[in-house]
Symmetry: C2
Subunit: 670 residues, 2 copies
């Protein structure tokens, strides 16, 4: 029987050897947290290496993602499909073992981590998803949703602001099945966080006190190298079910390295061959690089335990299914990420009804109408707003708040926490069972920007709702008026960004966002009213292609005017004016650049034919992305400066975003 220390040393050896072979990486955290990981994974983790998709598995998140070798070692040792050759390919092109854990690369990676503070926030989302799903599906005697979320995190995660947002929220929501382990090793990249010699301290927080202030259950001063102490702490944490738990583990970074442990040196660089030899001696680990003795492999192997555990759950689920067949079917559908079969048909009917109504309405209001239209058939919707429900219009008739003691709702009051909200939404999505949407003003997308990018990087599909999309926001002024933000969204690979011009385009955009796989969607809506645009059925169909001819002329146009959002109205006005002057004008509505770019060449050429080089774009935002469509010699009626505080109409006029400007721009080119 291998000792606990030997089992942990397998992680240490694999980690230092892989980093050494890659000539880069972070051995310190895996070596420091190996003992904690060993206890958690061997004594507590409910998982089945043979099926990383098992719905009721515990979720494990390595928020200090630079310690990726810890996770790869665990997955390899417990029997996931990640063989030793992959560990040897650490940080090499197209391996399953990139520098930071990347979702979708190796089985068992629950989320991509590395950008600090986001992993723990994803974990909050996973624990929230578990709690809501349990409240929605479990029945007396049928606990089909019942698992923990475990998070490892370090000083870096705790310094990041997002840790405040998501952990404060986790406390308010009473996420009792969230258990986080703080790797308290006193070291970050600049050295000793509490100062040393001439270098001052930069992190003096009393972290236990801070988390108590968030309504967490805190277990302070646990020796992170004493397996019994760690085990007792985990047991205590699991016993507290109405609060998340933080286990503060005092560890030595790079544990085992005689000359580098406890120092920044071992944080982010290979130990070096000589030091590795010394470390092997110090640890009593006599095996060559990448070799683990069979008895140690056997002790780690979780496949049999995992199969038994999943089998037991399968039986539980079968019993549930027998008694609650409709709920069970819905559970399976939702965990598979599938929409109800009749969704497309219902959505088309809704879009038709919006078209028939033909209302002038702010697109944020049209967005709420879309939620009311689609919501009733989608129990998987899990909405929310960062303290702007009444402005974002994210509450719909079927919305019900998620409460600590009554979590069966479908709406989260996120508070003023844009970044936390977005990373929590990513966690909810990764957990499965939900279609999260969350809203703020478009400007404050910026507070959350990297979580939005992470959704795109992970190819997951949360829906980010952004209202108050331009200078049309009016009186709140330049701090709140987006200018470059919609373009920022468009720059991110795999992000689908929509800025609809009216209620019909809004309904289509929401439908596509709900149906999308492979990346997130940003839905960008106006504060101010947007006139209804009349369309044929073909035009309605073509909205899905991202851009289409909204208004045309006979024969070859003299010029094409392209608009988005509320400025489509200005484009139409300008076209009328120009037509009256005898010009032949085509108006193209382009709610989604990325969607249009993905169309075939023939469709694109039909909408924007080469034969019409005179083009003007109008959008109340920076002009930078438009030369792609209007060319170097085209014109853009945009906003290449900051906004102004005034009623929306005054701001539009002051900044020259008017139908007259559009018409003048066209005339100047003809």
């Amino acid at each position: 029987m291998s000792s606990r220390k030997e089992l942990a040393n397998a992680i240490r050896a694999l980690s230092m050897d892989a980093v050494q072979k890659a000539k880069s990486g972070h051995p310190g955290a895996p070596m420091g947290m190996a003992d904690i990981a060993e206890v958690l994974w061997n004594d507590f983790m409910k998982h089945n290496p043979a099926n990383p998709e098992w719905a009721d598995r515990d979720r494990f998140v390595l928020s200090n993602g630079h310690g990726s070798m810890l996770l790869y070692s665990l997955l390899h040792l417990t029997g996931y499909d990640l063989d030793i050759e992959e560990l040897k390919q650490f940080r090499q092109l197209h391996s399953k073992t990139p520098g930071h854990p990347e979702y979708g690369y190796a089985p068992g990676i629950e989320t991509t981590t590395g950008p600090l503070g986001q992993g723990v926030s994803n974990g909050v989302g996973m624990a929230l998803a578990e709690k809501v799903l349990a409240a929605q599906f479990n029945k007396p005697g049928h606990e089909i949703v019942d698992h923990h979320t475990y998070v490892f995190l370090g000083d870096g995660c705790l310094m990041e602001g997002i840790s405040h947002e998501s952990c404060s929220l986790a406390g308010a929501l009473g996420l009792g099945k969230l258990i986080a382990f703080y790797d308290d090793n006193n070291i970050s990249i600049d050295g000793e966080v509490r100062g040393h010699g001439d270098v001052p301290a930069w992190f003096l927080d009393d972290t236990p006190k801070r988390f108590e202030a968030y309504n967490w259950h805190v277990i302070p001063e646990v020796d992170g190298h004493d397996p019994e102490a760690v085990k007792a702490a985990i047991e205590e944490a699991r016993a507290v079910t109405d609060k998340p738990s933080l286990i503060c583990c005092q560890t030595i970074i790079g544990y085992g390295s005689p000359n580098k442990q406890g120092k920044e040196e071992c944080h982010g660089a290979p130990l070096g061959d000589d030091e590795i030899t010394l470390t092997r001696e110090a640890l009593g680990w006599t095996h060559p690089p990448f070799e683990v003795p069979d008895d140690i492999y056997q002790a780690w192997d979780a496949r049999e335990r995992g199969t038994v555990a999943e089998q037991s759950w399968n039986e539980k689920f079968a019993a549930y299914k027998a008694e609650f067949p409709a709920e069970a079917a819905d559970f399976e559908r939702r965990m598979a990420g599938e929409l109800p079969e009749d969704f497309e048909a219902k959505a088309q009917a809704f879009i038709q009804s919006v078209n028939e109504k033909g209302e002038k309405v702010a697109t944020r209001k049209a967005s709420q109408q879309a939620l009311n239209g689609y919501g009733p058939s989608l129990p998987e919707l899990l909405g929310g707003s960062a303290d702007l429900a009444g402005s974002n219009l994210t509450l719909w008739s079927g919305a019900k708040g998620v409460k600590p003691n009554d979590a069966a709702g479908n709406y989260v009051y996120y508070g003023v926490r844009e970044f936390g909200m977005s990373a929590v939404m990513n966690g909810i999505t990764l957990h499965g069972g939900f279609k999260p949407y969350g809203a703020t003003f478009l400007m404050f997308m910026e507070y959350a920007r990297n979580a939005v990018r992470m959704a795109a990087l992970m190819k997951i599909n949360p829906i980010f709702v952004y209202t108050h999309d331009s200078i049309g926001l009016g009186e709140d002024g330049p701090t709140h008026q987006p200018v470059e933000q919609i373009s920022i969204l468009r720059l991110t690979p795999r992000m689908s960004t929509w800025r609809p011009c009216d209620a019909v385009e809004t309904a289509v955009a929401w439908k596509l966002a709900l149906q999308r796989t492979g990346g997130p969607t940003a839905l960008v809506f106006s504060r101010q009213g947007a006139a209804h645009m009349p369309r044929t059925d073909d035009q309605i169909r073509d909205i899905e292609r991202g851009a289409y001819v909204l208004k045309d002329c006979d024969g070859l146009p003299d010029a094409i005017v392209i608009g988005t959002g509320t400025e489509v109205g200005l484009a139409m006005e300008a076209a009328d004016k120009l037509t009256a002057e005898g010009r032949k004008i085509r108006v193209v509505s382009m709610p989604s650049m990325d969607t249009f770019d993905a169309q075939d060449a023939a469709y694109k050429a039909k909408v924007l034919p080469e034969t019409v080089p005179v083009r003007v774009a109008v959008e109340a935002g920076v002009s930078s992305l438009w030369p792609k469509y209007v060319g170097m010699h085209g014109k853009v009626v945009g906003v290449d400066t900051f906004g102004e505080s005034a009623p929306a109409g005054d701001v539009y006029k002051a900044l020259g975003v008017t139908a007259e400007s559009v018409a003048d721009a066209v005339n100047s080119l003809l």
Copy 2:
């Protein structure tokens, strides 16, 4: 003699009346915090309304900037150049009283606030600037720098993650002259933060405990409507000089409004004419809208007190100047934001020396060399990094850490706090006396994105240093490899963004960043080595124009290749290859798009002549901004997807960013 309550009611009346007249705005916070403001401004604030630029004034920051009428009322009542007509123009085009306080619009506005959590972070920067400046300049018996920073903040600021970053840092730095007032009114936009009826709680933090955990001095449970209690709390806070203080004021939002006080209703909407009438009655404020009785004006008027205070400081400064003329001159120069007179000459000499050395070196290393070159003549440099000093290479030979008890240094260990750092840098800049620079990886600019934008909005000049600028970062992988980030920076109005291709361009970029006024600079540097490009003196001079011909051919080129950063090397290689094939190729280095765009048409046409329509751009990032220079039919060798974890060379090859791709692109167009 007017009662304190009457004085406070003047704020309440002006605020509710201005919001009513504007038909939008936030009366709740000004009415709730009026009593606190009255005590602070009348009994403690050291300021001179006649000279809002007085160096030793106390700084006041309204972090809950939506309560702007509180600040406008205070400035108006105490005698700043902000007359009642301006208050009537609240939220109207080109008034001095926009919806949120905008730096530079009205005298006495120390910073632009509105994006929550940033004001208090600016305040941390101001208090830090005061502390460092005092340590650098004060002499025994000569306390020429000795003022407080006061910050008002609300629940929203406290929920935002950035409040964690900057307040934790303020605690670690022991900023004893920072005093914050928490407007604890239990209300945010979605309603009662601690829950009500069917709506759950979203903010249950024990805020006093949280701030104690940050090493703050906390005064809990102060009645924010009891002037004596507020006064006692401020006195207590001022007495604690080794820690920042948080005064937790329990207030009633919209205090005085019989039907709306204490409710979300009065947070962000006019009270309505009827309710205003009732409020006037309840407050006993019998005066018509925008009328304040003379005795109340007199009681508020701070001009005489202010003149006396400034005069007394002037005498103090004169005594200092007599004894320490050089220090006094330097203080005046730095507070005026002027560089040393010989800076330009010294910088040119340094640039020449870099050119003569002709080293191949990573531009981040060249950046450190530039700091070593410029640093010794610039005592106003106040550098730092968000826990990446050794990677960002921000420490130079003259760098010395700022310590709580020895603050005369010039380098701040910011910890893993990118957003906090950036907003603190804005505060330092606004305070005056320093040229702050602060660094992180380019990717994590995103964590700080809105503070960077705020610097541009405010037209202030901090220097944001971003290293590890592309897929060239290598093994850390896609979470850390910027793809769209440099383009994001370029989208922001007034931001000057530089991505130099070698040490010479780096030295020029640093020089311009240090000399810039009117907006911030982002300096973007490579992790990997960058070959030295040979240049004539004219070419070196033209670097300052943002783009220039680095390599040319005889006669009209067949094609122009434009590159930035490390990809200029690829452009040069491709040009050599194409030249060998008989093509005539011009290579343009474009380290700064915005700088080039600002040149006159003749220069632009000289670099990129209309007569050469065949153009290819190469940059290891998204292609979206390049059609502006290469046209709809030009080609871009870029990265329109996410990166990969592998050694840098492998990633470049895998993503097709190579000299061959550039040459192929040119050939495909010819």
